[in-house]
């Protein structure tokens, strides 16, 4: 049995605290943890808090203010269309130099009921909706290969755009693609599923990491962290989560006290520190653009 890595779950109020406190950001950035889930209450079924912020913009500003911290952005595929979400995820992948990923789970407790983007009136489960969004986001993020950006001064060709593909995803959500952003050079972003009894993970190639019920990462509440005996599933990790109402300082204290008993992880992209291989790109798909020609003068 190997020693697990450490990761943190920040809820809305803790994230708001972090954003307002430069010293806390430095302390958080120095933790030897694998990643932090930003906005965990949006995916773990624990209910709305008194304050929250959108995790993707929070992650983007934190990417500019940190050098080591890695994060999974809590997302919900109901009011957020997969095309918009995939753009933010891929953009974060570039701007954080691969330190970011996305996590799905239970219903977002802040969002009013309604699925404005789904293509069917037939009932579907939350898990089915997540699986479909994961598929769409992954396909979109891979629709524009980074290596097609050549910048050839001789021919005037900036991108070998004939290598860019439509995704033509037609499931619970529909999107043609391609994305407006190339795949990050570190590969498609890490995708995670926070599994609960209500929303168990559906196995699929597009899910890199399952946290919670049956997953490789076990959830440990901060007030039980002291008593934690050191057991974990093989190769997995711990997600340290405060109880509702606990402060950021309490969470960071608990993380620092656990750090000596967990497996330290070094710097680098999230995919690399979790030892996840870069997902291969599907070979199919309509070419989005014709073969570029050297340009002619007007």
């Amino acid at each position: 049995m190997s020693i697990p890595f450490l990761s943190l779950a920040l809820d809305g109020p803790q994230l708001v605290e972090l954003l307002a406190d430069d010293a806390a950001i430095r302390r958080w950035d120095e933790l030897p943890s694998a990643f932090s889930v930003l906005g965990v209450e949006r995916v773990d079924g624990s209910g709305a808090r008194e304050a929250t912020v959108d995790a993707s913009v929070a992650a983007a500003i934190l990417a500019g203010r940190t050098t080591r911290a890695r994060f999974l952005v809590a997302a919900s595929p109901t009011r957020d269309h997969p095309y918009n979400l995939a753009r933010r995820v891929a953009s974060l992948g570039h701007l954080s130099r691969g330190r970011s990923g996305v996590i799905f789970g239970d219903h977002d407790p802040y969002a009013p009921a309604g699925d404005p983007w789904t293509t069917t009136d037939v009932g579907f489960t939350r898990g089915e909706q997540i699986a479909d969004a994961l598929c769409a986001v992954r396909a979109l993020e891979q629709s524009w290969p980074y290596e097609s950006v050549v910048g050839d001064l001789e021919t005037g060709i900036f991108v070998q755009s004939n290598l860019i593909r439509h995704v033509d995803h037609d499931g619970l959500h529909r999107t043609a693609g391609p994305l407006t952003v190339p795949e990050p050079p570190t590969g498609a972003s890490v995708t995670a599923w926070l599994a609960t009894d209500r929303v168990p993970a559906i196995p699929g190639d597009e899910t890199d990491l399952v946290i919670g019920a049956g997953g490789a990462v076990r959830i440990v509440d901060a007030d039980a962290a002291e008593a934690w005996s050191g057991e974990a599933s093989d190769g997995g990790g711990l997600l340290l989560r405060g109880r509702p109402g606990s402060t950021l300082a309490e969470l960071l204290d608990a993380a620092e006290s656990l750090a000596g008993r967990t497996r330290p992880v070094g710097d680098g992209p999230l995919r690399q520190v979790l030892d996840l291989s870069v997902p291969s790109r599907p070979a199919v798909g309509r070419a989005a653009f014709p073969q570029p020609q050297p340009h002619a003068v007007l």
Partner: protein, 430 residues
């Protein structure tokens, strides 16, 4: 004779990723991956802040145009792009564009209030309705709704977003039952200083201007001639007054494409060189998109046929930009050039947005002239190549404007709303 105004102009930079000219990626200061490189964006943000500029803009459309010869279609998502830049700056405003056709109002309201929270009051939403089939297909639609529908949806969308932003201050739930949306909820995002993001409106159709007059704090206008700009300036602000608003509360900030050199001749050479290194089809495609025609079918050596210049029969299904089309037609009617002459002339005068090619001194003159003429409250400058064009604006144009008392020496305010409130009062409207 125009009346002199006191106070300072608003200066924004419309980033257009690497610059407005397709050949901008060929700059020796860039690598092929600069457009998605955090170091590139950090440099842009820090340079703009060194110039005490009011804001940086990103236009956006949620679909990819062919990036074969041009980085301009390759957009990262604007709130993420600018939040990152806000992370490495302190005072610079950040304006992100998003479409009311391809978003959900609750989702957008929550994201933009968060964007304003994390940037500490520096965020703005540039409201667009988006056109074209490509974005529609990315969201599961066959095509976009006709124009009036889009603007009706936009008006309701914006009202829902503003009500939700209010809900974050008051804690009261929003119960909205409208033609396009049903929303029951409230936001739990802490509003920065009990305020909300600045609202920009871009687009020159009648309904677009009406939306601007009713709710916008800023208008990102497209103006080719000073006289037309004065007319639109007065039109929007007078309408704002009719809505019970102060004319100072809506700032008119048109785009201005810039190529700057140490002499006028050097600037023209730079502009010609950048055009020659870009694809020839670029200007033809641009004209086609803006005017809703296939410009490739026009005889390059004949004047524009009257049927191309005449107003489109049906604005509902017109695929171009009403604002851009109007300014382009006005420009063509003044000199009646051949298509080829027009395409070459627009290198120096701009097309859709006005163009400027000249020295820093001349650019300062242009800004000063339009400001005192009551045509603008400031400009959204669009450098040909952003990485060095921005540097010249900051190091050479801004100091001239400061000497003339038209721009601040240091930031005096911390938020984008604060920057706007500190800018010059409105020009006379009558």
């Amino acid at each position: 004779m125009t009346e002199r105004r006191s106070g300072h102009v608003i200066l924004g930079i419309n980033a257009l990723v690497l610059g407005y000219l397709p050949a901008s990626w060929q700059s020796p200061e860039l690598t092929p991956g600069s457009f998605v490189d955090p170091a590139y964006w950090e440099n842009i943000g820090r340079t703009a802040e060194r110039g005490t500029l009011d804001a940086v803009f990103l236009a956006d459309i949620p679909a990819l145009g062919d990036p074969a010869h041009d980085a301009n279609p390759a957009h990262m998502e604007p709130t993420v792009n600018w939040s990152y830049v806000a992370g490495v700056t302190d005072r610079l405003g950040v304006v992100a564009t998003a479409s009311t056709t391809f978003n959900d109002p609750f989702d957008l309201a929550e994201r933009w209030l968060s964007f304003d929270h994390v940037t500490r009051g520096r965020a703005a939403w540039n409201i667009v309705t988006s056109r074209g089939a490509a974005p529609a297909r990315n969201f599961g639609f066959g095509d976009v709704p006709p124009r009036d529908d889009r603007y009706d949806r936009a008006a309701e969308f914006v009202d829902v977003v503003r009500a939700l932003w209010d809900s974050a201050v008051t804690g009261d739930r929003v119960h909205h039952r409208g033609e396009y949306f049903e929303i029951d909820g409230r936001l739990s995002v802490p509003p920065f200083a009990d305020s909300a993001p600045v609202l920009f409106q871009a687009g020159g159709s009648a309904k677009g201007r009406e939306l601007a007059a009713r709710v916008a704090d800023g208008v990102f206008a497209a103006e080719l001639t000073r006289d037309q700009a004065v007319e639109h300036y007065r039109q929007v602000k007078r309408r704002a007054v009719e809505h019970g608003r102060s004319p100072d509360s809506v700032k008119i900030v048109p785009g201005l494409l810039t190529t700057i050199g140490s002499t006028e001749e050097e600037a023209r050479r730079r502009n010609d060189d950048l055009h020659d290194r870009g694809p020839a089809s670029y200007s033809i495609e641009w004209l086609s998109q803006s005017m809703g025609i296939d410009a490739g079918k026009l005889d390059l050596d004949a004047p524009f046929p009257e049927e191309v210049l005449a107003a489109p029969d049906d604005l509902q299904t017109f695929t171009g930009s009403v604002g851009f089309r109007e300014s382009i037609v006005a420009q063509i009617r003044r000199t009646n050039p051949t298509v080829r002459e027009y395409l070459k002339q627009t290198r120096y005068t701009g097309s859709g947005h006005a163009g400027f090619v000249g020295t820093p001194e001349q650019l300062a003159d242009r800004i000063e002239d339009w400001f005192h003429a009551g045509a603008v409250d400031g400009f959204n400058l669009q450098p040909d190549v952003l990485v060095d064009g921005l540097q010249v604006i900051v190091d050479e144009v801004v100091p001239i404007l400061r000497k003339r008392g038209l721009y601040r020496h240091e930031y005096e305010t911390d938020t984008l709303r604060g920057h706007f409130e500190a800018a010059a009062a409105s020009a006379p409207l009558w």
